[in-house]
């Protein structure tokens, strides 16, 4: 069964550095998403992306975050100047349509900011 893959599984970065988290969504899916889960807290929606542009974003997704689909297979989340509070699990997801369709998740990237 096709799956969403995320790399790396664990990223350790110094505070203030830029980090790029990578995802390969399921190949025929059209909608892509990023979520994060801070340790001990709920999974939080960050952003959705369709047709090479952001379609929805949450209040968490501020100017330090950006997303990109640099080629036909990858979907990336960039955090420009990382802060300690950015430490979390970051999940990528994809779906074929935007509504009434389940999103399929990757196993996440654990981001640790030192």
């Amino acid at each position: 069964e096709p799956e969403v893959t995320q790399t790396p599984s664990h990223q350790v970065t110094q505070m203030g550095q830029e980090v790029i988290l990578r995802c390969v969504p399921i190949s025929n899916h059209l909608y892509f998403y990023w979520y994060r889960q801070i340790l001990g807290q709920k999974v939080e929606f960050l952003v959705s992306f369709y047709n090479n542009e952001i379609s929805e974003k949450s209040e968490i997704f501020d100017d330090q975050f950006s997303v990109e689909r640099p080629d036909g297979s990858n979907f990336t989340l960039k955090i420009r100047s990382t802060k300690l509070e950015d430490s979390a699990m970051y999940f990528c997801a994809s779906s074929f349509l935007d509504s009434n369709q389940p999103q399929h998740f990757g196993d996440g990237t654990r981001l640790s900011i030192l």
Binding site: V4, Q6, Y31, Y33, Y35, Q41, K42, V43, E44, F45, S48, Y50, S55, E56, S58, E59, F91, A93, S95, D98, S99, N100, P102, Q103, H104, F105, G106, D107, G108
Partner: protein, 110 residues
């Protein structure tokens, strides 16, 4: 963000019995509801969903019930098995903005 709430952080049931997980939401714009199951070190795995035009959806041992007037949904697992032990997340979406509850840790005892 408290748009989706799971008020029970944990639930323990005996193998073979029914597990009932509950979820409440506040945003009337949500039109699609899902349950995800999550094991440690893995991403959420889709379990079952329901559209707002229905009040029940069944898939094997799993049934989701939706009460729109109460803004409440529940997941029933019958019979519960030890392999069902995991964290269960309720999620609700309006178009492509999906919000999660905090999760309920289900433990099924043999």
């Amino acid at each position: 963000d408290q748009q989706v709430k799971q008020n029970s952080p944990s639930l323990s049931v005996q193998e073979g019995r029914i597990s009932i997980l509950n979820c409440d939401y506040t945003n009337s714009m949500f039109d699609y509801f899902l349950w995800y199951k999550k094991y440690p070190a893995e991403g959420p795995t889709f379990l079952i969903s329901i559209s707002s035009i229905k009040d029940k959806n069944e898939d094997g041992r799993f049934t989701v019930f939706l009460n729109k007037s109460a803004k409440h949904l529940s997941l029933h697992i019958v019979p519960s098995q030890p392999g069902d032990s995991a964290v269960y997340f309720c999620a609700a979406s309006a178009r492509n903005d999906m919000r999660f509850g905090a999760g309920t840790r289900l433990t099924v005892k043999p």
